[in-house]
Assembly symmetry: C2
Homo-oligomer: 344 residues x 2
DNA sequence: ATGCCTCATCTAAACGTTTAGACAGAGCGT
DNA sequence: ACGCTCTGTCTAAACGTTTAGATGAGGCAT
């Protein structure tokens, strides 16, 4: 159906090689007269070189794969994914490449689909926030598929990663609560399979340590498997009498900050007068909460773009092995934090 | 690097054809003993058939392209796109296909990139809400690329489309305002390059016509190129004295409904007591506006899924020519609408 | 005229699959 | 013993490109 090189060659009375030279502007010179004659036929038949044939030969597809499994609901309700993807698309477009989406399944299923990722359909893969440990990473690395991971850092140097420094960001966030005068600062963990949650807890502890204040372990709620479980545990904590309950809380994700606000409200407490709340990520909804949530802004779009840049460098052989890139975060102060109750 | 059929064949002492039969479970039988011997080598070397070579031969890539150009900012801030895409991904995943994203550029640029869409990289294309007229559609149809358009209906039968019945939906929405007792009902148009905006205006007029009420043309604001322009025009209208200004308004998109609420507020008017507002789309933010916006819900995710189903049918040759699918909408009543002021 | 270089073009192999057709051996009825 | 059908496997062509090497025609210095 679609015209091929051969057809163009036949119609313009040259060999397919010459047509190829015209199409690609090289690598050999073509006589202007010939070029024009061939080009006319190309235009006439609306010829486009076939992508599959090309990549078969060049071993390059000009396609970047993005893997972000999810279990249920609208993927793109997940603002984290959306913004990161946005950054990825920006950069692939700049490189005249396309973006291939592998999503719409759970991680377990994604791991079964490894063939898809490593059958030469893509030149490389960006993996968004995989759980840790993640079999998929190992398999891709083993098959030597160029890979950059976002948001999940290895213990050592097992893969390339782009992320913010979660420990440091959490340290700053909790430090900010200290600076406001808080001492009974709680922590609510997030997804137990992510690496960022424990990293943020580590930053929380660091903030205490550098001030010589011991952590009150009863105020630290570990990562729970569901938000509901966290909500229940936190509610119990907030039911303590006034001088024993936390005056501030660090939720390791914005959704957890929102949860803390909701709990406070349901107990008749005011935010920030009775409880200061700080979140993490600065997704779009954080600014529209009531009160607007103080949070750590991750440059998500930039993270996506940077991961893609790294991936292209890896694909182009500009480096081998692994690289780790940590991007800057910003503490965004909004109305959900203030001095603790009873401060002058 | 990666092992090939040939390598597997060599190592297991059979021909590449036999290996192929093993890999694909057919189309010819293989002796169990042979099969097992070959399979062992395959597993050992972690062999995966090369996608490019396969699609070169089969003329099938198992990939669906999604085109949604945008001009600036985060694409995925666009909730419309996000939800539709979500539906598309759902269905391609079910079909064991992947989704290729063509976005991150403006329409003008997208039209220049036609090669990308029609060089056999994808088996078909879903085009999301293109402007009308749209050169890209013509080119793709001319090159016989399977195509389904979302949200932009042709005058006749020039392309396949999935959408809601905008005329009918608008008629119901405006009819609802009539039923509440409103008569001075304004309309604010949307993007002038979309087909849905004029369709919704048509439904607005139909609601008037079937009640024998003439449309007050001074209350109809045509589609403007910027939201600011609409805002200004609408503000002028709302500055009229009480018994001449509209008591209700139909904004052809949620963002326009939001605008109407904002204008009312800035003029010291209450919604819905002084002005009822109705929007269109029911994007996520509509429910969280103050007051929550009454609007027409489009089943966006379903639209995406349905378009993809149609595309697969077209690709599989289950039909030729074009099809039009109109999906059901729902009028979602929230707090932004009520009886007009002065009603008993 | 000869040899040599350059330039434009052509020929043909290669990329990694799928699959139609050829082929050989086994089983079976006569 | 012969021919026939099956069955399992092999050979080789084809898909549509890119590109290294061969070829041949001029131009130029000798």
């Amino acid at each position: 159906m679609a015209p091929t090189l051969k057809e163009i060659a036949r119609r313009s009375g040259v060999s397919i090689a010459t047509v190829s030279y015209v199409v690609n502007n090289g690598p050999r010179p073509v006589l202007p007269a010939t070029r024009e004659r061939v080009q006319r036929v190309i235009d006439e038949l609306n010829y486009r070189p076939n992508a599959a044939a090309r990549s078969l030969l060049k071993k390059r597809t000009n396609t970047v794969g993005v893997v972000f499994p999810y279990t249920a609901g609208d993927i793109f309700d997940n603002a984290y994914f959306s913004r990161v993807l946005s950054g990825i698309v920006d950069l692939t477009t700049v490189h005249h490449c396309s973006t291939m989406l592998f999503t719409g399944m759970a991680w377990e299923e994604a791991e079964l689909n490894i063939p898809q990722y490593s059958d030469g359909r893509c030149d490389g893969i960006v993996l968004i926030a995989p759980p840790s440990p993640c079999q998929l990473i190992g398999e891709l690395e083993a098959r030597n598929v160029p890979l950059v991971v976002i948001g999940t850092r290895p213990a050592g140097d097992e893969w390339s990663v782009v992320d913010v420094d979660n420990v440091e960001a959490a340290r700053i966030a909790v430090g900010h609560l200290f600076d406001l005068g808080h001492r009974r600062i709680g922590l609510i963990g997030g997804n137990p399979r992510s690496t960022s949650s424990p990293e943020r807890e580590q930053g929380y502890r660091k903030a205490f340590a550098e001030r010589g204040v011991p952590v009150d372990e009863t105020l630290v709620l570990p990562a729970a498997s569901t938000l509901d479980a966290s909500e229940e545990a936190w509610t119990r904590l907030m039911r303590r009498e006034r001088d024993r309950r936390p005056t501030a809380v660090f939720g390791v994700q914005d959704a957890i900050g929102e949860l803390a606000i909701r709990v406070a409200r349901s107990l008749g407490l005011r935010v920030p007068e009775d409880l200061s709340v700080i979140g993490f990520d600065d997704l779009a909804f954080a600014a529209t909460l009531d009160p607007p949530l103080t949070t750590v802004r991750q440059p998500l779009r930039h993270i996506g773009a940077e991961a893609t840049r790294l991936l292209f460098d890896r694909i182009d052989g500009k480096f081998t092995g692994h690289r780790q890139v940590l991007l800057d975060f910003v503490l965004v102060e909004r109305a959900s934090t203030s001095q603790p109750p009873g401060a002058t």
